[in-house]
C-alpha cells in the first residue's frame, strides 16, 4: 500500500526506470552539471520571485514610494484601511495601558515580560490564541555564543556574512551581544534545553556558522520557548492582560505625532475597541500567508503582514521588504504536509530532483535561491512538473537513492523526523520519492528599527520578524528565534524608560489613516482590498460564487 494515488504511482514508475543508471553515475561521482555563474544570474533573474521583474513593482504611495516590492506587498501597501475612521469614537478609551503589545508570539511575549519587570502594565492584543505564531513552529534551534571557543564577535561575523553584508551593523552587534543573556533567561524560566549531564549545553553547527552554537529543545525548540514564556506571562496575569482573537487594525497617534494606542477589532463580535497606550510595540511576525506569487508557505495562519501595513500608514519606513526567503524543497504532497520543510540534508545525502519523465534537470546542491529557480523553471516554463490531486505543481525528490548509495537503513537513520512525517500517510520515503516545490519561509525585511527597537515614530517600537535590518537579505537558521527575544526584551525595557518620562498628548487621532486613504485616491488607485488582511481567505471559488454577503 502507498499513500500515493494510483496515478502518481504510475508516474513513479518512470522515476524507478531511470534510477539504476542515475545511482550508477552518482557512485562514480558523475553528476548533473551545475549552472555557470552567468546561467545562475540568468535563471535567478528569470525565475526567482525576488529577481523576476513580473510579479514585482514599485509601490506608489507612502514613505517608501518608488521602492520595488513583490506585487502582493505593493498591492497591500496601496490598499485602504478596513476601518471606517469616521465611525470610531476616540473620545473614550475602552482600555488604558502603559504598553500595548500587538502580537503575542515570541517577540511580543518577551517584551511584555521585560516591561512588566520594570513596573509597567501591559495589554497584549493578538489575532488568534496567545502563542499561535511562527515562533511555535521553529524546530531547529536558537543561536548564542556561550561556549569557551566562541564569542559574540564570531557570532557577529557569521550573521553579517550570512546576510551578504547587507545587515544593519548596530542591530547585529545588539543581537550577538545579548544572545547569551537570552539563553540564560530562558534557562532561568525553566526551559528544557538539551544538555549534557553536567549541565553543558548541547550545541550544533547550522548553515553558515563558524562555531557550534545552535541550542535546542528536542526538535521543537520554538514550541518549548513559546509555551515557557507564555506560561510565565500567565503567572503575571495581574499586570499582563491578553486579548485573544482581538487583533489591532490601526495605530492611534496623538496631536504631536507620537504613537498613543491602537484600534482593536474583536473577530467574533465584530466590535472595535479603542486602546489608549503610553507606548506601543508592533510584533506581528511575518507575511507567509500573503502567498507571494501563489507560493505555499511554512508560516502559521495569521502571518499576513498586518503590522507592516499599520506602521506604514503611520509614516514608518520599511527596509529590505523586497527580500524573501524561499526554501527550495517544501513538501506539496500529501496535503497535510504541504509547506513542510524538507531539509537540505536530503540532497546532501544524494537525492536528486527529477521531472515528470524521471529525468534530472539541475544540480541538486545549487545555492538555495538558485535551486528554487530551477524547480520553478521546470514546472512553469518547461512544463514537466507533476500535478497532484489537489492541483499543485512540483518535482520529485528521489530519496530512495540515498539507501542505494549509502546502504539500506540510511534514510531512517539520518532523517528520522521526515521519515515519520511521511510514513504517517503511508509514504515510505526510503522506497518512494517525495513531491516538492519551493515554499515561502521567512520575511527578511520589514519595519525599520534601531538597536533599541525604536521606529521613526515616537513611542512606537517594533521587534521580531515584522522588523527589518537584523538579518539583511538572508537569514541564517537559529538567529530568528534569537532576534525576536533580543529585540522583544529590548523594546520592553526601552518602552519602560520612555513611559516614565514621556509627555503624552491628549488628543487621540486617526487622521494619518485618512491622509493615507486620500493619498491612495490621489494616485488613482482602487484595488478594492481592505487591510490589514487579518486572515487569509481559503474559501474555494465555487463557494465564493454563491456567498450572499
Amino acid at each position: 500500500m502507498s499513500g500515493y494515488t494510483p496515478a502518481l504511482m504510475e508516474l513513479i514508475k518512470k522515476v524507478e526506470a531511470t534510477r539504476p543508471a542515475r545511482v550508477e553515475k552518482a557512485r562514480k561521482g558523475e553528476h548533473f552539471p551545475a549552472l555557470t555563474m552567468e546561467q545562475r544570474q540568468e535563471w535567478l533573474r528569470q525565475y526567482h520571485p525576488d529577481y523576476k521583474n513580473d510579479g514585482r513593482r514599485a509601490v506608489e504611495v507612502g514613505v517608501n514610494k518608488g521602492t520595488v516590492y513583490p506585487e502582493e506587498v505593493s498591492t497591500l501597501l496601496e490598499s485602504k484601511s478596513r476601518l471606517n475612521t469616521k465611525c470610531v469614537d476616540l473620545s473614550k478609551a475602552d482600555y488604558e495601558t502603559d504598553l500595548l503589545v500587538i502580537g503575542a508570539g515570541g517577540a511580543g511575549t518577551a517584551a511584555a515580560l521585560a516591561a512588566q519587570e520594570q513596573g509597567l502594565k501591559v495589554l497584549i492584543s493578538t489575532k488568534l490564541r496567545h502563542g499561535d505564531s511562527n515562533t511555535v513552529m521553529a524546530e531547529g534551534g536558537i543561536q548564542g555564543a556561550d561556549q569557551e571557543g566562541d564569542s559574540p564577535y564570531f557570532h557577529y561575523l557569521d550573521v553579517i556574512g550570512g546576510g551578504h553584508f547587507s545587515n544593519q551593523p548596530g542591530l547585529v552587534a545588539a543581537l550577538t551581544n545579548d544572545a547569551p543573556l537570552i539563553i540564560h533567561w530562558l534557562e532561568s524560566l525553566g526551559m528544557m534545553f538539551d544538555k549534557k549531564p553536567d549541565g553543558r549545553m548541547l550545541v550544533r553547527h547550522g548553515g553558515g556558522t563558524s562555531r557550534k552554537r545552535m541550542h535546542s529543545a528536542g526538535d521543537m525548540t520554538g514550541a518549548e520557548i513559546m509555551r515557557v514564556v507564555r506560561d510565565e506571562a500567565r503567572n503575571r496575569a495581574n499586570d499582563i492582560k491578553v486579548l485573544e482573537f482581538t487583533p489591532a487594525v490601526e495605530l492611534i497617534l496623538d496631536e504631536k505625532g507620537s504613537c498613543a494606542g491602537a484600534v482593536l477589532y474583536n473577530l467574533e463580535t465584530k466590535e472595535y475597541y479603542v486602546v489608549k497606550a503610553k507606548s506601543v510595540l508592533i510584533a506581528t511576525g511575518g507575511f507567509g500567508r500573503l502567498h507571494i506569487q501563489g507560493f505555499p508557505t511554512t508560516n502559521h495562519y495569521g502571518a499576513t503582514a498586518d503590522g507592516v501595513v499599520m506602521a506604514y500608514r503611520a509614516g514608518v519606513s520599511l527596509q529590505d521588504l523586497d527580500s524573501t526567503q524561499y526554501h527550495p524543497t517544501g513538501a506539496i504532497y500529501p496535503e497535510q504536509n504541504v509547506g513542510l520543510l524538507i531539509t537540505e540534508k536530503v540532497r546532501g545525502l544524494g537525492a536528486q530532483l527529477l521531472n515528470t519523465e524521471g529525468e534530472q534537470f539541475c544540480f541538486p546542491l545549487e545555492p538555495r535561491d538558485v535551486e528554487s529557480a530551477c524547480v520553478i523553471r521546470e514546472c512553469m516554463d518547461i512544463g514537466k512538473g507533476i500535478l497532484t490531486p489537489t492541483g499543485r505543481h512540483g518535482v520529485w525528490l528521489d530519496s530512495p537513492m540515498i539507501d542505494m548509495i549509502h546502504g539500506e537503513g540510511t534514510v531512517r537513520k539520518e532523517l528520522p523526523a521526515k521519515y515519520i512525517q511521511f510514513k504517517r500517510y503511508d509514504i515510505d520515503i526510503s522506497k518512494v520519492p517525495m513531491l516538492i516545490y519551493p515554499t515561502l519561509h521567512y520575511q527578511n525585511g520589514g519595519i525599520l528599527i534601531n538597536e533599541w527597537s525604536e521606529t521613526t515614530v515616537k513611542g512606537l517600537y517594533s521587534a521580531g520578524e515584522v522588523a527589518g535590518g537584523v538579518h539583511g537579505r538572508n537569514r541564517l537558521m537559529g538567529n530568528s528565534l534569537l532576534d525576536v527575544l533580543v529585540f522583544g526584551r529590548r523594546a520592553g525595557l526601552k518602552a519602560a524608560e520612555y513611559v516614565k518620562t514621556a509627555k503624552l498628548g491628549s488628543k487621540l487621532s486617526l487622521s494619518h489613516v485618512e491622509k493615507f486613504n486620500k493619498e491612495i485616491d490621489k494616485a488613482g488607485i482602487d484595488n478594492g482590498i481592505e487591510s490589514p488582511l487579518l486572515l487569509p481567505d481559503y474559501a474555494p471559488e465555487h463557494v465564493k460564487a454563491r456567498q450572499i454577503s
Binding site: 551581544n177 528544557m192 544538555k195 549541565g199 503567572n235 508557505t297 499576513t304
Partner: protein, 262 residues
C-alpha cells in the same frame, strides 16, 4: 465598525484547494451537516473546502500549536476518535467536531519562590492529579501519541523528571482534559512540571553563567563596536578567514588559534 455591503476583494490564495476535474469526492459530516469534498485533504482543508472560514480552531496548520483538536466518528461505528484537524486526513463518512477551546484549571504560581520540594508544590497546585483513576482515556485520546496516563502516574509517584520528558511532545490541545473522568487538566500540570524540572532539576550550564557575567561586564562591547564600524571590505576579509570549529569537536574543549576575540 461600519460594515457596508461592498465585498472586499481577496488577496491570499496559495493554500486554497483547487482539485482537478476528475478528483474523487467523498462525503463528510461537519458537525452533522453533509458535505462533498475531494479525497486526500486534511480535515482542516476539507472544512475550508466546504466553505467554512476559520477564526478559532486553526493556528500553525503544521501540527504543533494544538489549536485544532478534533473528535470524530465514522457512520455506523461506535468508536470515538480524535486527532489534529491539520494532521488528519478526511475520510469517507467521517462525522467531525472540532474542539477549539476547553476550560482547564491553571493555578498561577511563582517559579522563583519554589525552591522546596517540587512534588509537594505539585500536590498543592494540582491536588486533582492524585485522584487519577487510571482509566487510560487520556492516552487513547492524545493526538500526539503521548502516554498521558503514564506521565500522570509518574507525577503521582514524584518522578518529575520522567513526567517532564514523557510529556515533552504535548501541544496542549486539551483533548485529554476534555475526556478525563477525574477532571484533571493534564497538560497544564505537565507544563508546570516541565518548568520546575527545567529550572531546578536539570543541571545549570556553568559556561553560560560565566559568559553572562562577561557580557554584563561589557567585555564584548568594544570588540563589537570596532567590527561594526569597519568598512565592509575589511569585515568581508575577517569573515572569509574565520576558523571553523570541526563538527566532531567536543563542546567546550575546542579552541581557535586566535583567542584574542574570545
Amino acid at each position: 465598525m461600519a460594515d457596508d455591503c461592498k465585498k472586499a476583494k481577496t488577496l491570499a490564495t496559495g493554500d486554497r484547494t483547487i482539485p482537478p476535474p476528475d478528483a474523487k469526492m467523498i462525503t463528510i459530516y461537519i458537525m452533522g451537516r453533509e458535505y462533498q469534498v475531494p479525497e486526500t485533504l486534511t480535515i482542516m482543508k476539507a472544512i475550508e473546502y466546504a466553505g467554512y472560514s476559520y477564526t478559532r480552531g486553526c493556528g500553525c496548520r503544521g501540527g504543533i500549536c494544538g489549536a485544532c483538536g478534533t473528535f470524530y466518528r465514522f457512520l455506523g461505528d461506535y468508536r470515538l476518535r480524535s486527532g489534529l484537524a491539520c494532521q488528519t486526513v478526511a475520510e469517507e463518512n467521517m462525522v467531525i467536531m472540532q474542539l477549539p477551546f476547553f476550560p482547564a484549571n491553571r493555578p498561577g504560581y511563582d517559579l522563583e519562590q519554589m525552591t522546596g520540594d517540587a512534588h509537594e508544590e505539585l500536590r498543592r497546585l494540582y491536588p486533582e492529579v492524585f485522584k487519577c483513576v487510571g482509566c487510560g482515556t487520556c492516552t487513547r485520546t492524545c493526538p500526539m501519541d503521548i502516554d498521558v496516563m503514564d506521565y500522570i502516574a509518574l507525577m503521582k509517584r514524584g518522578d518529575l523528571k520522567g513526567a517532564a520528558h514523557k510529556s515533552f511532545d504535548c501541544v496542549m490541545c486539551g483533548l485529554c482534559a476534555s475526556r478525563c473522568p477525574a477532571q484533571i487538566s493534564q497538560f497544564n500540570a505537565a507544563m508546570f512540571v516541565r518548568r520546575i524540572y527545567g529550572k531546578n532539576g536539570l543541571p545549570v550550564a556553568g559556561h553560560l553563567a560565566k559568559r553572562v557575567e562577561e557580557v554584563k561586564a561589557g567585555k564584548y562591547e568594544s570588540m563589537l563596536k570596532e567590527v561594526s564600524s569597519m568598512n565592509p571590505e575589511d569585515v568581508k576579509k575577517l569573515y572569509v578567514e574565520r576558523e571553523r570549529e570541526p563538527d566532531m569537536a567536543e563542546a567546550g574543549k575546542w579552541m581557535p588559534k586566535d583567542t584574542s576575540k574570545l
